[in-house]
């Protein structure tokens, strides 16, 4: 029973990893940028919504809408001011730019909102739900629903909407898309804006779970094994891998920790990731890059 509980809770946490990973994958899909500042995005979103709720006493819905606007603007601003200029540059340069961005956002968040830790209050009862003897968390159930909605919305966007199809075309071949009259830069902006919105979902729930301060950005470290395991350019990969990692982490803490006498929860996802990569170099769902001579 304990292990079933462990696994269920692992899956719930995993869905929260997925939603952070989603923003990461979106940006990569559109512009092949590895965003090392994804964690900082989540942190910044947490600060913003906490600011509206705590400092200005807005209702949670109003606060979320306002935060949404802010995060879209932040996403657009980042793309416009920095990433746009790095199109076609070596991968490492882009990685480094996002590391710089991470530092910038850390400093800016502190300067704008203060160093204090705050919590995002949610109108959800803290008391867990019991299904039989199984214990589940209300907040996380709600979060999982939001994560699912997020994935569904993004999935719909990519498959059905005009903009999504254009984004996919860009991901396929930037040159051809340019020739087809698609304004690539606009769409990079859109991708960053969506990533900002997705970060908000992560910011609300992670900010509620562990409080908002600059340390919230560390959630970004959790994202790497998820996106690599799932495949950098796969939305469904982010979802599945997030759940897998949540599960594996939970089981590692339950089984392995007592055996080795140390915390293995953060390590096992990475080990699993490397093992999978040795057999599937582009992750579980990632698109294989075919090289020609």
């Amino acid at each position: 029973m304990y292990y079933v509980e462990l696994m269920l809770n692992g899956l719930l946490i995993g869905s929260l990893y997925s939603i952070v990973a989603l923003g990461f994958v979106l940006i990569y899909k559109a512009s092949e940028v590895i965003n090392f500042a994804q964690g900082e995005f989540v942190m910044f979103a947490g600060y913003v919504i906490a600011f509206w709720i705590l400092s200005l006493n807005f209702h949670i819905v109003a606060a979320a809408l306002l935060a949404l606007v802010v995060m879209v603007l932040v996403g657009l601003l980042v793309e416009w001011s920095v990433l746009r200029h790095l199109i076609g540059r070596p991968v490492v340069a882009v990685i480094m730019a996002t590391i710089g961005l991470a530092s910038f956002l850390q400093g800016a968040a502190q300067l704008l909102f203060g160093v204090e830790t705050r919590s995002v209050p949610l109108p959800i009862d803290d008391y867990p739900v019991f299904i039989g003897d199984l214990l589940l968390n209300r907040v996380e159930l709600v979060a999982a629903v939001f994560a699912g909605l997020g994935f569904a919305a993004v999935g719909w966007f990519f498959v059905k909407s005009r903009y999504g199809i254009a984004l996919r075309a860009i991901a396929d071949d930037q040159q051809v898309s340019l020739a087809m009259g698609i304004n690539v830069k606009t769409f990079f902006g859109i991708a960053w804006a969506i990533a900002g919105v997705v970060a908000l979902v992560g910011g609300v729930f992670w900010g509620n779970a562990s409080g908002v301060d600059t340390q919230l950005a560390l959630i970004g470290l959790k994202v790497f094994p998820v996106v690599i395991l799932g495949g950098l350019d796969s939305i469904i990969g982010a979802l599945v891998a997030g759940l897998i990692i949540g599960l594996v982490e939970s089981l590692a803490a339950g089984f392995l920790d007592p055996l080795v006498g140390g915390g293995t929860k953060d390590l096992t996802p990475y080990v699993l990731m490397i093992l999978v990569l040795m057999f599937r170099p582009y992750g579980l769902f990632g698109e294989k890059i075919i090289e020609r001579v």
């Binding site: 462990l6 301060d213 340390q215 939970s250 140390g262």
Partner: protein
């Protein structure tokens, strides 16, 4: 090593020369070097502690504590919890002529221990660094000055045992030790295991790997499988808030949780929610809250300057620790001045100044601190405070626990070679 100094950068040279500003004749500005983390992973702690130290030093200067015309400059440099930068910060304040040094962070304390020793400058590491440094013979220039992790472990177990007895339950409690899986988190393990072996209670260890933003599996195990009676919580950073939140969600009674000194601040409760934390207990090595003479004096100083008291004062756990650190350095410097005269004070004199601090309480703000050449910890006193109605209230008097066991470990602490 007396080379004529030629600065490579005009900028740096200019900045360095401003460091050594002479006041009136014979008046001396003592440099108190401090490093701080205000931009790295422990910034939520550093920003409060370091401000507290600044305010106390300012107060001491204003009160003329260091004698006619003399003053102390608190030369603080942020290192962002990055060791090379911490070493640079130390070198810079050494260049500025510091006589005493405030360390920040366990790895920095390790990296700078040999340097402090060879430079004969006393450095304080309250609540972090090596517990073995309580042994003044092995670590002559390192002053933990507050209860080390070993002393905290002893006191925490003592508190658990006392409460268990008071609750009238039979047998011995099942204890869960929830710890941050880094050297600082593991340091109390040897002492805890030793005490557990001697007392005979049941204990399980739960490691939380950094950064500890999620610890559901561990907490589930503690509450639902192991069914612990007591939790000893030795976590840092985000982990204390997360642990409190998780434990309270599973309805673990908060008055069966005791936190170490870095899982004990208002900001952690704020992040977890004060209601969730109701009943939570934690160890403190300095006074909490604002009902202290010294805090009133700092407020008065601000009022005199026509400013409101600093907001950071509200996170009193950390702010007050900063005041505590500042006060100890000031005290040691005053002792050194009394011993050899202001113009002669060196780092070594300040070390002796630290070692001659006795029965220092700052008006009940601190445990009765007695530092000696042998004991650089000052007794390892802590006080248990509890969250009640959205604030910290004291639960016990200043206390120690299993002092004999801990002193055995301290005596066996290996001196740093080198």
């Amino acid at each position: 090593m007396k080379h004529p100094k030629l600065s490579f950068l005009a900028l740096a040279g200019a900045a360095l020369t401003t460091v050594v500003t002479a006041g009136a004749a014979n008046a001396r500005e003592f440099v108190l070097g401090m490093q701080c983390d205000r931009s790295g992973p422990t910034q939520v702690v550093g920003n409060y502690i370091c401000d507290g130290a600044h305010d106390y030093i300012r107060l001491a200067n204003k009160m003329g504590m260091f004698g006619e015309g003399n003053s102390v400059r608190n030369f603080e440099i942020d290192h962002g919890y990055n060791v090379p930068r911490g070493v640079e910060a130390y070198e810079r304040s050494k260049e500025a002529g510091h006589v005493s040094y405030g360390l920040y962070g366990t790895p920095h304390t390790y990296a700078l221990t040999p340097k402090l020793t060879s430079d004969k400058t006393p450095g304080t590491s309250p609540g972090f660094g090596s517990a073995g440094a309580a042994n003044g013979k092995s670590y002559p220039y390192i002053f933990p000055v507050a209860a080390t992790y070993w002393s905290q472990a002893g006191a925490a177990v003592q508190f658990v045992m006392d409460e268990w007895k008071a609750s009238g339950q039979s047998g011995l409690p099942k204890v869960a030790y929830l710890y941050y899986d880094n050297p600082a988190g593991r340091e109390p393990l040897e002492v805890l295991r030793d005490i557990q072996g001697r007392v005979g209670f049941e204990m399980r260890e739960y490691a939380v790997p950094p950064p500890g933003v999620d610890m559901r599996p561990q907490v589930l195990d503690i509450v639902r499988r192991y069914k612990a009676d007591w939790v000893i919580n030795h976590t840092f950073g985000k982990a204390p808030a997360v642990s409190i939140k998780e434990l309270s969600r599973l309805r673990f009674p908060m008055n069966r949780v005791i936190g170490f000194v870095w899982a004990a601040a208002e900001i952690d409760m704020q992040a977890a929610g004060w209601e969730a934390a109701e009943g939570y207990q934690a160890l403190q090595f300095a006074g909490v809250g604002q009902n202290h003479k010294v805090i009133d004096e700092i407020k008065a100083m601000y009022a005199e300057e026509g400013k409101p008291p600093p907001e950071k004062m509200n996170v009193s756990v950390y702010y007050n620790r900063g005041v505590f650190i500042g006060a100890l350095h000031a005290r040691a410097i005053v002792n050194a001045i009394e011993a050899v005269g202001a113009e002669n004070v060196t780092g070594d004199d300040v070390r002796r100044g630290f070692e001659s601090i006795s029965d220092f309480t700052l008006g009940g703000f601190m445990p009765p601190l007695n530092l000696t050449p042998e004991d650089h910890e000052g007794g390892g006193w802590v006080q248990v405070w509890q969250v009640r109605g959205g604030q910290w209230v004291p639960l016990t008097d200043w206390m120690q626990g299993y002092r004999d066991v801990i002193m055995e470990h301290v005596a066996n602490a290996e001196p740093p070679k080198g």
